[in-house]
């Protein structure tokens, strides 16, 4: 089974109905779609309703501090077209707020909760944004690029200071661990 040749063109027709959307076919059943934040729910709705992109494979979030943006990527798969559309939207980092797509794709519930936990993005309308993984965490959202995990670790936990016999011998001779 190969990718239907007409998929990009038929997608194109649909995508013309939504403002602010650009499509880039990529290799191997992957299509990248860049969307404006406002158009995203309509885009997912259309993809689901008209083209059968009903499986929300994942929502990925990428932190771009340089442009002060969060990039959200919605990966939707169509069991009929056997293709994956990755819809990219960029939202402002402060405040990181976006609309939930839970009413279109149920799995979004978990992914939005996860992104909320790890990046601090608030999804308006998401059914459950309570903490799940980081219940005993009160620091900043750890996946932010600004969070320095090694720095935190050095501050919070202790390391073993090994003193094996061979090391003492070597140190006695003037050697030792090199920095």
């Amino acid at each position: 089974m190969t990718q239907p040749k007409n998929l990009p063109s038929s997608l194109d027709i649909i995508l013309h109905e939504i403002p602010g959307v650009r499509m880039t076919p990529k290799e191997g059943r992957r299509i990248r779609v860049d969307s404006s934040p406002d158009s995203l729910p309509a885009l997912l709705e259309l993809l689901k309703g008209r083209m059968g992109f009903m499986h929300l494979s994942a929502i990925s979030c990428v932190d771009w501090p340089e442009t002060d943006e969060f990039e959200l990527i919605y990966h939707v798969w169509s069991y009929e077209q056997k293709s994956l559309v990755s819809a990219h939207v960029s939202i402002s980092r402060d405040p990181g707020r976006f609309v939930s797509v839970y009413d279109i794709h149920t799995p979004a519930g978990f992914y939005e909760r996860d992104i909320h936990e790890m990046f601090g993005v608030v999804f308006v309308g998401s059914p459950n944004l309570r903490k799940f993984i980081l219940t005993s965490w009160d620091g900043p959202p750890p996946m932010l690029k600004s969070f320095d995990t090694l720095g935190y670790v050095n501050e919070t936990y202790g390391w073993v200071d090994y003193q094996p016999d061979w090391l003492r011998d070597v140190e006695g001779k003037g050697g030792g661990i090199e920095s």
Binding site: S136, T149, V153, Y157, G158, W159
Partner: protein, 249 residues
Amino acid sequence: MNDQVPVVGEERPETCRAPDAEERSLWRRVMDQFADHCRSRSLFVLHYCTGCGAVELPPTITSRFDMERVGVSPMVTPRQADLLLITGYLSVKTLKRVILSYEQMQSPKYVLGFGSCTINGGMYWNSYATVKRLDQYIPVDGFIAGCMPRPEAVQQVILDLMRRIDSGQANAWRDYYLDYDTYLGRQAALFGEEWHTPTDVVAEARHYGYFGPGTTGVHTARLKNYTEWALNQIPELLPERGRNEKART
């Protein structure tokens, strides 16, 4: 009962200590050694999969590597378990449950750390979520190298532990009583000042005869608030408290 529930405001500074071997009568020494021997031949492992290493426990317990032939078998409740296997990395969230489970186990109890993660952080040395050194939070009787240790290595560490129990050398559990204040301090540093557990370790330390200078201190002093709160929650204990107060006045 007096031993188990310290009364609010009551100072009991004196330490107590279980008799050393030479102080014990011959009969007791023989009986203790016999008990150690029996204990080493029937270790119940708490069924708690704390990390990746747990995936090698089913093979260890089941037919192929069959640890049951030396009396090691899984136990579902901490109350009846002797051995707590920390099978790899511990997230902070899990460590809380591990400490709660550990405190529920009856002494003497043993802890084994599996693999790199329990020794010095392992693979996840720069992860914000996992604890780097297990022995800072609970006393550990032994470690195994590996990531993860294979069943034969697990067998060897358990056999080693059995040997040490048999010869009366596996006594890390006593450290928890003797240094409870330090352990509690480290736990609280990680979990926050609110941290407390339902088990009254100080009273247990008295009970087992390992109430030392390090058992109480600045950190355990904080627990009094919670003890008082607990006493108020459990009505049956209240007359007890009244009686003690009366006796004091």
